[in-house]
């Protein structure tokens, strides 16, 4: 089906070879050449010629009409994360373009490939403060991997080819292409050549054999090794190599927030999530291991805590594709600058079979202490309000760890990360580095459109939900069967938790007066339910998950629940608190 579709597209673009086309049509043809089948957008004055061309291509390129341009960027982001393909946005100039910025910044820090196309006023008007003119190339510079402005139709194919190449290769990232209205109207002779190389760009550094051999030597000699798996493992598709390395050398694997699902949660070697609200064992063991093997991660401050006391005892091997990440935050013993899959597959030629039973056993007492003090009381509370923990746990059980889990940002995000047990790679979509409230709902749209074959469950809080709530309209209009679980604690929960713990319980503007969310969902034509009592939860989740269409469930949860474990900001990973 897909192949057939793809070949049709090829024919469409090939039959235009040598024909005169407008810049707008050249853009459509370029998108087809890059295998684009869906774009997320919002029309407006300066992008109208492109939208007019899109009208002729609407059978080959699906357009999802969002309700705000930020939603377009996050939806494209969610799509890119679950498919590994480039997410594409199409918006107008001025406010349309500036509304993208949060989405670009989010994709930039989380290394997500996007190509965002913005309309622009006609080139003679550039710099004249024309209606809806804004310097989006200038504004987006710090939050894009690359950007460019097209002022002539003939430049469309070349720049678009370069944009896709740069977005998806090496360390992926968002790219913005600004197209002036005269370039959209102008004409050019159609031809297309994919970009495969730029002389100033080195996306895949060669693996250096001596570094790999040295890494293997450190690993083979280690007695207390620990692997940290990051987003780079998933981006490179290196989860099989990671599994082979872990099982052959018998090394526990801990995951970053964005590395979740790269290693199955139920595996005996899975140590849990790292970081501020991660699991007890992997945080403490970071400061006890003798060799730390960090793969595809950037040692974010939410992972490391206080740098001066982070893994000082360990020899650190850092594998990352981006040379600028090496020694940026954590000084390392050995660096391997390469794609994670290339590095691990080479490394596997030198890593020997090993057993670290004694070392692995030491994780057990930390695991059971966390289980006893945090996990079980959250999953099976004695009474009182429903807890976020039990909702996520039940969804995890009911979906058998097979769903794509999308979250917004805050307490529910940490709870979802901690209690969903992943059984399939590429199953967690969340805003990591930027912590963008409002990410979840639009990202879930992109995730479901990218993977219609998979169940997509969104966990969202009552704060973040209202930041992009208008995307319920997108869901209804485009008929996107996402399952929305709103965990409503009537607070900006994570900020309230910090106020509770570090600001003498002074709840400064964190309490929310909320609308009737179920009625609101109904107003958008989406079936909604509310769950207040624990005994109704399982049944309501069942019917949510059984629905063929988008369905919404609001769960009223404990208002003043705090997420533990927690490493207070600026403290050592050893000081992780369980209560």
């Amino acid at each position: 089906m897909f192949r057939e579709n793809h070949e049709n597209k090829k024919v469409a673009t090939a039959s235009k070879a040598g024909c005169t086309v407008t810049g707008s049509e050249a853009l459509m043809l370029s998108l087809l050449e890059e295998g684009v089948d869906v774009i997320y957008g919002y029309p407006g004055g300066a992008i109208m010629p492109v939208y007019d061309a899109l009208f002729d291509y609407r059978d080959r390129i699906r357009h999802i009409l969002v309700r705000h341009e930020q939603g377009a960027a996050h939806a494209a982001d969610g799509y890119a994360r679950v498919t590994g393909k480039v997410g594409v946005c199409l918006v107008t100039s001025g406010p349309g373009a500036t509304n993208l910025i949060t989405g670009l910044a989010n994709a930039m820090v989380d290394s997500v490939p996007l190509v965002c196309i913005t309309g622009q006023v006609a080139s003679p008007l550039l710099g004249s403060d024309a209606f809806q003119e804004t310097d989006v190339v200038g504004i987006s510079m710090p939050v894009t991997k690359w950007n460019a402005q097209i002022t002539s139709a003939e430049d469309v194919p070349g720049i678009i080819a370069q944009a896709f190449y740069l977005a998806k290769t090496g360390r992926p990232g968002p790219v913005l292409v600004d197209i002036t209205k005269d370039a959209q109207f102008g004409e050019t002779t159609w031809s297309y050549r994919k970009c495969t190389r730029l002389r100033s760009y080195f996306p895949y550094p060669k693996v250096k054999l001596n570094e790999i051999q040295e890494a293997a030597r450190l690993i083979n000699q280690s007695r207390k090794p620990l692997i940290l798996a990051g987003h780079g493992v998933l981006i490179a598709g290196a989860q099989n190599h990671l599994m082979e390395l872990a099982t052959r050398a018998d090394i526990p694997v801990a995951s970053t927030l964005l590395g979740l699902s790269a290693f199955p949660s139920g595996h005996r070697l899975y140590a849990g999530m790292l970081g501020m609200h991660g699991n007890y064992a992997p945080n403490v063991k970071t400061n006890e291991c003798d060799v730390l093997i960090a793969v595809g991660l950037r040692f974010d401050d939410r992972i490391t805590g206080r740098l001066e006391s982070y893994a000082r005892q360990a020899k650190i091997i850092h594998i990352d594709i981006d040379p600028a990440e090496i020694n940026k935050n954590v000084p390392v013993t050995l660096s391997v600058v390469a794609d994670a899959r290339e590095a691990l597959s080479t490394l596997l030629s030198y890593v020997k079979e090993n057993r670290h039973t004694g070392w692995i056993d030491t994780f057990g007492s930390f695991r059971s202490e966390e289980e006893e003090k945090v996990i079980r009381p959250g999953r099976e509370p004695a009474g009182g309000h429903i807890r976020m923990d039990e909702v996520v746990h039940q969804v995890s059980e009911k979906t058998k760890g097979q769903a794509v889990v999308v979250t917004d940002v805050g307490q529910h995000q940490m709870v979802a990360a901690r209690y969903y047990r992943f059984n399939r790679p590429g199953s967690f979509v969340t805003s990591g580095g930027l912590g963008t409230m409002g990410f979840g709902l639009p990202a879930s749209i992109g995730a479901k459109i990218g993977r219609p074959d998979r169940e997509v469950v969104l966990f969202v809080g009552d704060g973040g939900f209202q930041m992009t709530i208008q995307e319920l309209g997108t869901i209804a209009q485009s008929n996107v069967p996402v399952k929305i679980v709103l965990l409503n604690n009537q607070f900006l929960g994570m900020v309230r938790q910090w106020q509770d713990m570090f600001f003498r319980k002074r709840y400064s503007f964190t309490e929310l007066q909320n609308p009737d969310f179920v009625t609101l969902a109904n107003a958008y034509g989406i079936h909604g339910e509310r769950c207040i009592k624990r005994e109704d939860l399982a049944e309501k989740l069942d019917s949510l998950l059984a629905s063929e269409e988008c369905s919404f469930l609001e769960v009223m949860v404990e208002p003043e629940h705090n997420v533990f474990p927690m490493i207070p900001a600026g403290e050592s990973v050893s000081n992780v608190r369980l209560e």
Binding site: R199, N240, N329
Partner: protein, 192 residues
């Protein structure tokens, strides 16, 4: 947070070899401003390799930070390679122009003094004013500036630094070392 580095602010000269694309200067300066590093001087010109441009940027900072900045600069898509040098690793010059009333030059200061003691060149003489040029390190052009300030100096301007490095390694060798890109196609892999 590299340890073992001396925390000492020094003068560094950064050379950036790049494509000549619109907007690259902006992307470069963002890297400095984001880290609160002030650019002391900046010069852009073509390099010895056709089509490749060279930025020469002088800053005062810690070596540890400069090293990270270099990696961030090299991460820019249009940048081929960036280097940093301490002052003793480069030969560098700056050019300064001074405009004075001609009466001062011929009278109180004396043109001969300027030429013999300061090695200046005279660019223009009119009945009202004279423009002279001095090339050298900042200390030298500054010394002359301090002297002329007492003599009704009308205008002064100093260029950014231009620098040639002492190490002999060619840029092309560095680029080869950086390792050429290899073709690589993402596989869709769903299993563990």
């Amino acid at each position: 947070m590299n340890t073992g580095q001396k925390k000492e602010i020094k003068e560094y000269t950064i050379n950036v070899f790049s494509e000549n694309h619109i907007g690259l200067l902006n992307r470069l300066t963002i890297i400095f401003t984001r880290r609160k590093i002030n650019i002391e001087s900046l010069t852009v010109s073509e390099s010895h390799i056709p089509g490749i441009h060279c930025f020469t940027i002088a800053i005062n900072s810690y070596e540890n930070l400069v090293r990270k900045v270099i990696l961030q600069i090299e991460k820019l898509v249009d940048v081929l390679k960036a280097f940093y040098y301490t002052t003793d690793q480069i030969i560098y010059q700056e050019i300064a122009l001074y405009k004075l009333p001609t009466s001062e030059v011929t009278g109180y200061i004396g043109l001969e003094t300027l030429i013999r003691d300061f090695g200046i060149r005279v660019l223009e003489v009119t009945p009202e004013y004279t423009v002279i040029e001095k090339t050298g390190h900042k200390t030298e052009t500054q010394e002359l500036l301090e002297k002329l300030k007492n003599h009704r100096l009308l205008e002064f301007v100093r260029s950014g630094r231009v620098a040639i490095t002492k190490p002999m390694k060619e840029l092309t060798v560095h680029l080869e070392e950086k390792g050429m890109a290899f073709n690589y196609i993402m596989k869709e892999d769903e299993s563990y």
